[in-house]
Symmetry: C2
Subunit: 312 residues, 2 copies
């Protein structure tokens, strides 16, 4: 009899203002859902993808969920077939770690389905193979928080050195995704190759203090530290209404607000759900004059990473 | 009857490898000692300075201990005279926060002597006046750890935002001061105005992880994070034998080793006193072939800042 598993993996916010390329966190909403089924006929097949507007490849070797599964099937000599259904429940290219979520859901599902008993550390490397397909480089700042949950620090990508940070209980995240497309390569290309030492010092003072604020659950300190003087001033120019949305977030009580990953989504952190919701409404209003549709998500920081869903 | 107080203030290690301009910590040895006495004749006088080889000014307005005392006497309308004896128990221009120690000892002594009941936050601004005399800029990375004790993060100098970090219990510091002179302005001048973004990212990954390591008392993580890819490669060229000393420190079990402040002193952090002592001996040996004398200090991280000493 064939077995089936359904897995959710959360969206992630990489960079976290001052933590470009070294920090990220998972959120409870949105997230991707994968259904992985064993099959009699050997081989890995992607049977269906929903929510991608036909943009994602069905060929497993080219798909962020398929690639890590192919590797695991080979490595662990899985003889039976594996069929994958991918439900993209979040916008593609939004800066919310969509490809990381699919890759993480895939490795987590396969691990459970075949009772491989791999640790998250072991799963991470397989998931990164999928992420690499999509971004071209090995950056763990979406995959790691998606897999481990919580707020994650990536001290180094090579060798991988990942540190989980305690999540303050009342930390809520507002995410707004304006419906525009910024190709990731554009948002990388506009970054400066060199930055003033003085800006770098400001940035590392803030990231150091942000880690301290998170670990102490000191919300004020988190707020004072959520400043990005290096990346945000450049990338925000690609996002219509960025300044107004950020101002609206702060004016409505957010601790801080910046770009999620390489954008165009923005995130804001708040103490408490009520503030986070108010912040979201205020931010969304700013986009009206730009005639931009947007999706709004308000949720707690996700502490667990992927999870197995019960049958529908 | 005139009153007298004797105060010790600790040496400090600023920068802490990856924390250029934003981090510092106090050590139990060495440190400065000030004796402050009330006098019938009004005015502030420095009556004696020992250990400075005649280099420090006796004129209070030009002296790092005298200047903050002048300000406090004026601000708090102290009518009687104040006489200061300064015993410099650490080398000048060594990168160990010598001027900060004198300034902190001065404000701490005056606060106690006249029962001003000022908080450390209030004392900090007076002490910074003294430090500014010596360095020309307001940097709190020696004054703050000297005054508060422990490991201190300076998120921002303007406005001042200082965060005290928990000190891991077994953290010992080895400091070696090679007897050479590097003018502070030289060690500032050779710093690059701009740095590669990739180096900045490496640096802020390390400082973020160092804070996490300190707060978790995770000695291995502290060790992995004590890396400076921005400042040390430049400044270490001014210190004969730097590479050998650093290698000797690591080979003998130190968690990490870098330049203290702007040098020429080096510091190493170790888990436990025994390792810290072995590290110090190994580092000192490296200087023999350079015909350089050196001072060696091994002590715990200082947790208290300045203290009032009992009568001799």
């Amino acid at each position: 009899m064939n077995k089936c598993i359904r897995v959710f993996a959360p969206a992630t916010v990489a960079n976290m203002a001052c933590g470009f390329d070294v920090m990220g966190f998972a959120i409870n909403k949105p997230g991707d859902e994968l259904i992985v089924t064993t099959a009699n006929e050997p081989g890995v097949r992607i049977t269906k993808i929903t929510g991608d507007e036909g943009k994602l490849p069905l060929e497993p070797a080219l798909n962020t969920a398929g690639k890590p599964i192919l590797s695991m099937v080979k490595k662990f000599r899985i003889k039976c077939g594996v069929e994958i259904e991918i439900n993209k429940n979040m916008p593609l290219g939004s800066g919310l770690g969509s490809s990381a979520a699919s890759a993480v859901a895939a490795v987590y599902a396969l691990n459970a389905l075949f009772e491989l008993k791999l640790s998250k550390d072991e799963l991470l490397n397989f998931a990164l193979e999928g992420e690499q397909l999509s971004s071209g480089t090995v950056h763990a700042d979406n995959v790691a928080p998606c897999l481990y949950g919580g707020i994650v620090l990536i001290r180094s990508n090579k060798p991988l050195d990942i540190i989980a940070l305690k999540v303050p209980d009342k930390l809520y995240c507002t995410v707004i995704h304006p419906q525009i497309v910024i190709p990731t390569k554009d948002s990388r290309r506009i970054l400066p190759a060199e930055i003033p030492l003085s800006s770098a010092v400001t940035q590392w003072g803030n990231i150091a203090a942000l880690v301290a604020g998170i670990m102490k659950s000191d919300y004020d300190l988190i707020g004072r530290s959520l400043q990005d003087v290096v990346i945000e001033p450049v990338r925000s120019q690609l996002i219509p209404g960025f300044s107004e949305m950020k101002k609206a977030a702060i004016d409505n009580g957010a601790l801080g607000c910046s770009i999620s990953g390489s954008g165009p989504s923005l995130f804001a952190l708040s103490k408490g759900e009520k503030t986070a919701s108010r912040v979201g409404e205020a931010m969304q209003k700013c986009l009206i004059k730009y005639n931009l549709q947007s999706e709004l998500y308000v949720s707690k920081v996700n502490k667990n990473g992927p999870e197995i869903l019960k049958d529908r």
